[in-house]
């Protein structure tokens, strides 16, 4: 790969003496205020080069956008993405034994590193993981002499010459085909998949178990973590997310609903019920409330690209952990602390159960996560700066710079501030993704995908 294309462009991330500046690039999806449930975006993921951007939705569809190749080297327009492929990944199913409907909603998409001309991704719903091959076809064979004009096969006895067909160019066609279906390995709802750095295996995690698969083998998987108690009535925690280490193929982590993260080494034993490291921060007793357990539940865990840190998201904060220190995180960022006094209402309207994701930028200097009112937050670790930005149609003129937003927590509301009570809790940003090598971000509101890029001087 041409390394010049992969230079990490963070020079514009923070202007001297100023804040980070982001510009609107595009928005994908219907403009309707009336959102069809099937169109609700449920996952967003860049591939390893950032050229492809995949989204999954509640209707079981996957839409892949491709970076416009002509514009890649034009700074202002390098974040133009266009639809590349759309396919139905999962369909609703019915489990007759348990009388349960299995939702087709795509919970996660993970790209495989590219090995040949085709692209591969894993997509999963609650029960089944599928490996999809996305390949391009831009030529077709012509010149067969085996068929009549109308398509019927000619009588072989009438064919007297051998004609080798020729490949001629055609309009680009992108085909998605399911190459593997990994089914029947999860009793509970799958919440995570993660491809191993060995490019041969991947893990899938549900509420109580983590399974290890070989990408080639669909009829077998190894269970490597099982936290199901002998008596289900003794259940106290569930697995909420799991991820392989980016470089060490023997290491993975899984987070729990109790706010702990366990790091496991697969070399130690076949069944990794016993963790190698346990990351846990003691609870602050003065913050104790009815909802302490809910807000400490971790909704996402992500390793940094360099593999030295991991980030966790719970309801109110983002925490950065050094893998060498288990006792507490090295950094904690408050996403929307003003919601702490609203937990009761958020419990009543179920918002307190929202599972926010988080992501790192390419060089691990900035982290991003979503919030309500279509706000999303960025935390610059190096400069100790944070920003609140909004994804909205009002700010969607091409290259329009996003104005930082501020939530007023009490007292006199300044101009341009928004009060906590005016926040729209139906407009939530749960899924965000950062281009692995550039300052291009994809932010999913309920049914729209916003693409922003950093401001080019």
């Amino acid at each position: 790969m041409n390394s010049a294309n992969h230079k990490i462009r963070t020079s514009n991330l923070s202007r001297p003496g100023g804040d980070m500046q982001w510009c609107f690039s595009q928005v994908k999806g219907a403009i309707d205020d009336d959102v069809a449930e099937a169109d609700i975006i449920s996952t967003v993921e860049f591939n390893h080069t950032g050229e492809l951007l995949a989204t999954g939705d509640k209707g079981g569809r996957v839409v892949i956008f491709q970076q416009e190749i002509d514009n890649k080297n034009v700074p202002q327009f390098r974040s133009e993405y266009n639809v590349y492929s759309t396919f139905q990944s999962h369909e609703p199913e019915f489990d007759y034994l348990k009388s349960l409907e299995i939702e087709e909603k795509i919970n996660k998409i993970r790209w495989l590193p590219q090995k040949n001309a085709a692209q591969f991704l894993l997509s999963t719903n609650d029960k089944t993981i599928k490996l999809w091959k996305i390949s391009e076809r831009d030529k077709r064979p012509e010149g067969y002499n085996l068929k009549e004009e109308d398509g019927r096969y000619r009588d072989p006895n009438t064919i007297t010459a051998l004609r080798v067909p020729v490949l001629i160019p055609m309009d680009l066609m992108v085909e998605a085909s399911p190459r593997r279906v990994f089914a029947n390995a999860h009793t509970y709802h799958i919440n995570s998949i993660s491809v191993n750095s060995d490019n041969e295996t991947y893990l899938s995690a549900d509420d109580l178990r983590v399974n290890l698969w070989n990408l080639e083998i669909t009829d077998r998987s190894f269970n490597i973590v099982d936290i199901k108690p002998a008596n289900m009535e003794e259940l106290t925690e569930v697995i909420t997310a799991a991820e392989f280490h980016p470089h060490q193929c023997n290491t993975f982590v899984y987070s729990s609903s109790k706010g702990t993260i366990r790091l496991c080494d697969m070399r130690v034993s076949a069944l990794c019920d016993k963790h190698s490291k346990l990351f846990e921060e003691p609870e602050n007793p003065s913050n104790r409330s009815f909802f302490s357990e809910i807000i400490s539940s971790i909704s996402d865990v992500k390793f940094s690209h360099n593999g030295r840190y991991m980030m966790t998201r719970d309801y109110l904060s983002v925490k950065i952990w050094d893998l060498n220190m288990e006792s507490r995180p090295v950094e904690t960022y408050q996403v929307h602390e003003y919601l702490r006094s609203k937990l009761c209402s958020l419990y009543e309207n179920d918002c307190i159960f929202d599972k926010f994701e988080c992501c790192w930028n390419g060089n691990d200097s900035v982290v991003m996560t979503g919030s309500y009112n279509n706000f999303f937050r960025m935390f610059d670790r190096g400069h100790r700066r944070d920003a609140t930005l909004e994804a909205s149609r009002e700010n969607s003129k091409p290259l329009q710079v996003l104005k930082p937003r501020k939530v007023c927590t009490g007292g006199k509301r300044k101009k341009d501030e928004i009060s906590v009570d005016s926040l729209d809790f139906n407009k939530k940003i749960l899924h965000t993704a950062w281009h692995p090598q550039d300052n291009i971000i994809a932010v999913a509101t309920t049914n729209n995908l916003y693409i922003f890029q950093d401001k080019v001087n």
Binding site: H189, N191, I294, S297, S341
Partner: protein, 275 residues
């Protein structure tokens, strides 16, 4: 960990949180995609926390009421008292104290002093010879030095019974009583709206039967809305078992009696165990 009522950030009372939580669990049974184990587990934590606060508040209520009655009783006695009769009276009080443990209702707890022997942290050993030693708490369960005054609804027979024992958790008396004086408890049949008792679910707990601690709301001053409590008992009777793991987590911090109350209330999350 104990839930401190003072740390509650909103004015919603424990009882309405219990109702809301039960409705969430109930609704989750019909949600598309099947029961979400994670969400229901979190809801049951809220239930447990609300329950703790609810129990504490009710005990504080009862304690305050008992103190009031006891003070009145002592005043009456003082008026009638002949100073030479003090010795005989001590015996009387002790008997009254024991009778209180035996399940009579609304008696003064006995001693003229503040109720120290009866309000001791359950983590401590009961003092030897305490009147409550000999009385096993409801449903057995060993180590019977912990007791309390409980109003229980038997889900199988739908009978509400009040049983009065002696010890309460120390924290219960620490919490400032905020509710109106609790209702008098009495035995009566409760119509739980036609919900079948949970006959098929075997009891996993040491308690012989599933019991629901329930406040009788015949007192008009009582805070809880009667409709809410009947809704709660209806919903509770729907569910069969629950996360006793949540109980064992707190076993080293809480009283056995509360644990039993919670054990019976574990009925609320049966849906999750349906896997």
């Amino acid at each position: 960990m104990e839930v401190d009522r003072r740390a509650m950030e909103c004015a919603v009372d424990a009882q309405s949180l219990i109702s809301i939580s039960l409705m969430k669990i109930h609704n989750s049974r019909t949600q598309r995609g099947g029961i979400k184990l994670h969400k229901n587990l979190l809801v049951s934590y809220v239930l447990r926390n609300a329950r703790q606060v609810y129990i504490k508040e009710k005990y504080a209520e009862i304690y305050r009421m008992q103190q009031y009655e006891e003070v009145m009783a002592v005043c009456n006695e003082i008026q009638e008292l002949d100073p030479l009769d003090l010795g005989a009276e001590d015996g009387d009080e002790e008997e009254q104290g024991r009778a209180a443990c035996c399940g009579e209702e609304s008696r003064p707890a006995g001693s003229r002093e503040p109720e120290q022997p009866y309000y001791r942290s359950c983590c401590m050993e009961a003092p030897p010879g305490s009147p409550c030693d000999q009385f096993a708490p409801n449903g057995g369960g060993g180590g019977g030095s912990h007791c309390n005054k409980t109003t229980v609804l038997d889900l199988d027979t739908h009978v509400v019974t009040t049983v009065e024992n002696g010890f309460l958790h120390q924290d219960c008396c620490c919490a400032a009583p905020q509710c109106a004086p609790g209702a008098a408890a009495r035995k009566r049949k409760v119509d739980s709206g036609g919900c079948a008792p949970d006959a098929e679910e075997p009891s996993d707990f040491t308690a012989a039967r599933k019991r629901l601690k329930r406040e009788d709301c015949s007192n008009p001053d009582c805070n809880p809305d009667y409709t809410d409590t009947s809704n709660i008992s209806n919903l509770i009777s729907i569910f069969g078992s629950g996360f006793s793991g949540l109980l064992s987590r707190q076993a080293d911090l809480e009283q056995v009696c509360s644990k039993q109350a919670l054990a019976s209330l574990g009925a609320w999350t049966r849906a999750i165990v349906a896997f």
